[in-house]
């Protein structure tokens, strides 16, 4: 760059004509395109982060459901014990007890 051009560049910097001196008008479409590209990137980044937040929240919900499911199975298993059933029946005053004969299979 010649000394004259350098001087013109600095002058345009101080006179606020820098963009014109760089012929930015010629690349206006590209500049706008780049602007929207960057804006899109920022927006996408933000959306991705929000999706991660949602994923983390869902992960926590799934974990909670797993715990809930495990606890329900656990409670069913607890009730499944024959001695416990007999005790409960006895406590309720029920006549129901263990069978006195083996089952007869009517149809195989």
């Amino acid at each position: 760059m010649s000394a004259k051009k350098k001087g013109g560049f600095i002058r345009s910097l101080f006179t606020g004509e820098i963009l014109m001196s760089m012929k930015a008008d010629k690349y206006f479409v590209h500049i706008i395109y780049t602007f929207f590209l960057i804006l899109g990137c920022l927006l996408l980044g933000y959306r991705i982060e929000q999706t991660f937040v949602k994923a983390e929240r869902n992960k926590a919900t799934i974990d909670e459901l797993k715990i809930r499911n495990a606890e329900l199975i656990y409670k069913v298993e607890q009730q499944h014990r024959m001695t416990k059933l007999l005790d409960e029946l006895n406590k309720e005053g029920s006549d129901v007890s263990l069978p006195t004969e083996p089952p007869v299979i009517l149809k195989k």
Partner: protein, 728 residues
């Protein structure tokens, strides 16, 4: 020149306006440039020359923290997939009692401040009522006082509950005040990893607990399979984004945790429950008399342990905290007679238990060990009905005659004891059993020296005939009797059937035969002999367990055994001076005993083998603490409960009333040389009937007797072999 002029003209026409606007814009532009330069200088300075304090760096650097991801510990399952041990978290509930105290203090208006405080305390009152409903160990007033006292003392933390389940936690979250969240309501919920056991204490000494890793309890599934169950930790990096939310930092490395494998056991939870209940019901009232009790049930064909109950009397409460079945070495008593009988039959010294042995007053073995043949009351008992000088071996087994088995061991093995010890070795009765949880305790012999097998005193060798001097575990005995039930095939006991994950099997454990104890014919003959213990011949004497087994819904074959436990000085008040010379009784006649019933059922087609052993405290001798007492009663209860709930007996009721346990084979034995009718009988029943009639049997095929030669009703010389063909 012209240009100069033009320029001068333009300047002339616009000079005033341009100067004003131009100067302003120029100044703005210059200011922006100066600020930009300052920014650039500042950036360069911060970037290259500024070294802030570490604390500041930590505060202002977006955090990306490493978080350890815990795997889910694998499940321990019963054979049908029922959960024996599983993992899900509990919740710790805490409260900040000083909540909003600072906020209220900042309010200048005193009446307003008091109003805020009153409102909060009203909420605390309502919260206390709800807490009292969930945690009734404190009433509402006490809860309120506890919280307000902590508030007055400016405590920042008050534990409401250390461990609650998910549903309780959700309920608590909705309580007044707590429903306002952590910062306004003061509730703090922390997840606590926890291991859960749906069946409580059932099989606890077998399942164990995660804490076993840090204790001395070694024979538990939790400990033995800890490596498989534990899984592998993972990790992730998380970073904070807006509003203090944390998300995974995908720019960093991530390792998924590997959940633990599931362990599927052979335990049948229904059988375990039945065995546990039967044992507890029978010993419930005996906490003053018993120290320990245990029971185990094994599947005959595979050796799979279906149930194992181990109860220890801990200050009057029966607890599952030590595995006696695998670890408790003791002199088994008369249950060892089954081993001696099997040995003499395997070696061909005795062909059938219907054979007799001589009763000689001068019999060396009896004199030395029993103080004479009549030292065994069963000898006189037999002679009273069968005068003469011979006694039937089967009678000796049925009534548990010590003389019979001292004679057999002494007569056949005195000069070749190594041969008998070789049997014990071949039948794995002199070594630990390989068992997944850990090898069983190793049997010991008070006098036997493995390097010099003939050492030991003669008396001690003879005493082995009725189960003294040798010390083995209940598992050894069960394994042996299971082999008899299984036609002579000894199966290695096992309790883990597979290692799985998400339903996919990674490692499968199969039944393993480790020895052949005897031929099927001998096993069937022993089976018939063992049935007499629970039944016997109603025309003469009944077996030692017949009374307890009365009313059993399925026939049981087995053996009872009771042995005195040698007293040690520390067991007896007054120490050694208070113990009789034989070491079995105190001077006032008290003793400690080990009582066992071991057998299998249904006798005609064995499905399960079972052992029940009790260990008494020092006290007076009582018949219910013999093998034919409580142990046999426990077995009967197990059999009866299984009879109506186990698929094996399905349709039994359709065939007619259940057979009485003491009923022996329906065919009538003859005693006049007439060949009995064996058609339709199972092999063991045919053996019993033929032997009872004085004949032996040779057989081919499987199933029930389809034909026989010679035919029923023919007269033959007793001792002749009846050829039978079995068909299914």
């Amino acid at each position: 020149m012209a240009r100069k002029k033009d320029t001068g003209e333009i300047k002339g026409t616009t000079s005033t306006g341009r100067d004003r606007i131009g100067i302003v814009l120029y100044m703005v532009n210059v200011a922006a440039i100066i600020i930009s330069i300052l920014f650039i200088i500042r950036i360069v300075k911060i970037q290259y020359f500024f070294h802030p304090e570490e604390k500041l760096v930590e505060m202002f650097t977006p955090s990306s923290a490493k978080t350890i991801l815990q795997p889910v510990r694998g499940t321990i399952m019963a054979d049908d997939g029922s959960l024996l041990a599983t993992s899900f978290p509990s919740y710790r509930i805490e409260m900040d009692p000083s909540i909003r105290k600072g906020e209220f203090a900042a309010v200048e208006d005193e009446s307003l401040r008091k109003s805020y405080e009153d409102t909060l305390q009203t909420k605390i009152g309502r919260l206390s009522v709800c807490l009292a409903e969930v945690f009734p160990e404190k009433d509402a007033g006490t809860w309120k006082k506890t919280i307000l006292d902590a508030r007055a003392e400016n405590k920042g933390n008050l534990v409401i509950a250390k461990q609650v389940d998910y549903f309780t936690m959700k309920q608590i979250e909705e309580f007044p005040l707590f429903d306002e969240g952590r910062f306004k309501g003061g509730i703090k919920i922390t997840q606590v990893p926890a291991r859960q056991y749906p069946y409580g204490a059932l099989a606890k000494s077998t399942i164990g607990s995660v804490a076993d890793t840090f204790t001395t309890r070694k024979n538990t599934l939790e400990l033995r399979y800890d490596k498989e169950l534990r899984g592998e930790n993972g990790y992730e990096y998380t970073r904070t984004i807006d509003r203090r939310q944390r998300i995974q930092d995908y720019d960093s490395t991530y390792r998924q945790p590997v959940d633990g494998y599931d362990v599927r056991t052979t335990i049948d939870i229904r059988l375990q429950d039945i065995a546990d209940r039967s044992l507890r019901e029978n010993i419930e009232a005996e906490t003053k008399n018993l120290d320990y009790a245990c029971a185990a049930i094994m599947e005959v064909k595979t050796g799979a342990v279906k149930a194992m109950v181990n109860l220890t009397n801990t200050d009057g409460v029966w607890r599952e905290n030590y595995n006696h079945v695998l670890n408790h070495l003791g002199e088994p008593g008369s249950v060892f007679k089954g081993v001696v009988l099997t040995a003499v039959m395997t070696d061909g010294y005795v062909k059938s238990s219907l054979e007799t042995i001589p009763i000689r007053a001068s019999e060396g073995a009896a004199v030395a060990t029993l103080g004479g043949v009549h030292g065994d009351r069963h000898v006189s008992e037999y002679l009273s009905q069968h005068p003469g000088d011979e006694m039937q071996i089967r009678f000796g087994f049925m009534r548990s005659s010590n003389y019979t088995f001292v004679y057999l061991l002494d007569h056949y093995y005195r000069n070749q004891s190594k041969k008998f010890y070789q049997h014990l070795h071949d039948w794995h009765l002199d070594d630990s059993i390989h068992f997944e949880l850990s090898p069983t305790a190793k049997p010991t012999n008070r006098f036997y020296d493995s390097e010099n097998p003939v050492s030991g005193t003669l008396i001690s060798f003879q005493q082995m005939g009725f189960g003294y001097t040798i010390r083995i575990t209940p598992m050894h005995l069960l394994m042996f009797y299971n082999a008899i039930a299984n036609g002579g095939k000894m199966m290695n006991p096992y309790i883990v059937s597979s290692i799985e994950k998400d339903g996919k099997v990674y490692e499968q454990f199969s039944p393993r035969q480790i020895a052949t104890v005897c031929s099927k014919e001998i096993a069937d003959s022993l089976n018939v002999t063992m049935r007499t213990v629970t039944g016997g011949d109603p025309r003469s004497y009944r077996g030692t367990a017949a009374r307890s087994m009365g009313g059993a819904r399925s026939q049981v074959a087995g053996k009872t055994g009771s042995a005195f436990i040698y007293l040690e000085a520390k067991d007896v008040p007054g120490g050694r001076a208070n113990i009789e010379g034989n070491g079995q009784h105190t001077l006032d006649g008290r003793c400690k005993k080990q009582a066992t019933f071991v057998g299998f059922f249904p006798a005609e087609n064995p499905q399960y083998s079972v052992i029940v052993t009790l260990y008494t405290r020092l006290g007076p001798w009582k018949s219910e603490f013999d093998g034919g007492g409580i142990p046999a009663l426990v077995v009967k209860d197990i059999v009866n409960a299984l009879y109506t709930t186990d698929g094996f007996w399905n349709d039994t009721a359709a065939d007619g009333p259940a057979a009485e346990a003491t009923t022996l084979p329906t065919a009538t034995p003859t005693n006049d040389g007439t060949v009995p009718d064996l058609k339709g009988l199972s092999l063991s029943d045919a053996l019993w009937t033929a032997e009872k009639s004085g004949f032996t049997i040779k057989w081919t095929g499987e199933g029930k007797v389809a034909s026989q030669t010679p035919a029923a009703g023919k007269n033959e010389i007793q001792g002749t072999a009846i050829q039978v063909v079995l068909k299914r």
